[in-house]
């Protein structure tokens, strides 16, 4: 399966989506990421039972922080997919990239460049 997905996406591997931390997500925005998404296992399929639910709650927390900072909360999302779903991984990557392209560059980055 030689599936193509946008090359601008930087994949950071974690042992479980539950390991993702609010700080990891915020640091990405601090460093100028235009968007961040967490790809966790399907709900109910977590090897550690609730890792993906915890990840979703953290993503929602960061959405609130971004909104308070005047940054579009849509720049962060959580997606669920199985590791056997290569085509879905590529599709989500394309769709999220599309969403972010429509939102434009991160205001953090544009202000720095100006």
């Amino acid at each position: 399966m030689r599936l193509q997905y946008p090359s601008n996406i930087k994949v950071i591997q974690l042992p479980c989506s539950g390991r993702v931390d609010i700080l990891h997500l915020l640091k990405a925005f601090e460093d100028g990421a235009d968007g961040v998404y967490v790809a966790g296992c399907k709900e109910g399929d977590c090897h550690f039972l609730t890792g993906n639910f915890k990840a979703r709650r953290k993503v929602n927390y960061v959405k609130q922080v971004l909104a308070a900072l005047g940054i579009e909360p849509e720049r962060i999302e959580m997606f669920n997919m199985s590791s056997a779903e290569g085509p879905r991984f590529a599709q989500v990557a394309r769709e999220f990239t599309q969403t972010i392209q429509e939102l434009g560059p991160s205001p953090v980055k544009t202000a720095q460049a100006a």
Binding site: I22, L23, F29, E30, A111
Partner: protein, 222 residues
């Protein structure tokens, strides 16, 4: 522990407006345990503040530090060399922290980054409940180990009142009627007759009504 809530980011941003060099100061005491003012939360708040500044193209010298406690002068002293180099210090300890820091460093603007809410305990991870009102005269042993002062909305010593329905307090379906719990617990313990005792009006002089309180232990004083 002392439990608090983060202040809205907007409020903190307003506090530090125009102040270039800022320190976000955490505390490893109660506020670390209730996940509002420890090292982790210092990191989150400082990062959020840096993002806000970067977004406006402003300087981002927002530093992070967490003291062992902010309610003991010896730990505040650790800031002695650095404190006056900041335009603002945002303390995310309970209300004691910003006061101790401000008192020690009178030239520095100190802001509270959290709202101190109550003395309580964790019911589960992420849920805290008020358990003590520091009235200064603990009587919980008379009420099956449940505090009618902190947990009854009216702090009734002779309850329940007419607002108790289906085990809940009339103020909210989320709030247990502690008097319902007291009666249940005392019945379970076979001590129901103890509740026939009529308690006179509580002397609030030991509480805040006696003014700000102070505790002195002569044997420990230096």
């Amino acid at each position: 522990m002392i439990v608090g809530d983060s202040k809205p980011l907007e409020e903190i941003l307003e506090m530090i407006e125009g102040k270039d060099k800022v320190l976000v100061l955490g505390c490893r005491g109660c506020v670390t345990v209730c996940n509002v003012g420890g090292e982790k939360e210092v990191g989150i708040l400082a990062t959020a503040l840096r993002i806000a500044r970067k977004k406006r193209g402003l300087p981002t010298s927002i530093e992070e530090r967490t003291l062992e406690r902010q309610c003991d002068p010896e730990y505040i002293e650790e800031l002695a060399e650095a404190a006056e180099g900041y335009d603002a210090i945002v303390s995310i300890a309970c209300g004691v922290g910003p006061q101790f820091v401000a008192e020690r460093f009178p030239k520095v603007r100190v802001f509270p980054g959290i709202n101190t809410t109550f003395i309580g305990g964790a019911l589960e991870h992420g849920v805290w409940s008020e358990r003590c009102q520091s009235c200064g005269n603990c009587l919980v042993h008379n009420f099956g180990g449940l505090c009618p002062i902190a947990r009854c909305s009216k702090s009734l010593m002779n309850g329940p009142c007419g607002g108790s329905a289906n085990k809940k307090c009339e103020i909210s379906p989320e709030v247990d009627c502690v008097w319902h719990l007291i009666v249940e617990k005392m019945a379970e313990m076979g001590r129901l007759e103890e509740l026939e005792r009529v308690w006179p009006v509580k002397n609030w002089i030991t509480s805040r009504d006696g003014g700000p309180r102070r505790r002195v232990r002569e044997d420990l004083k230096q």
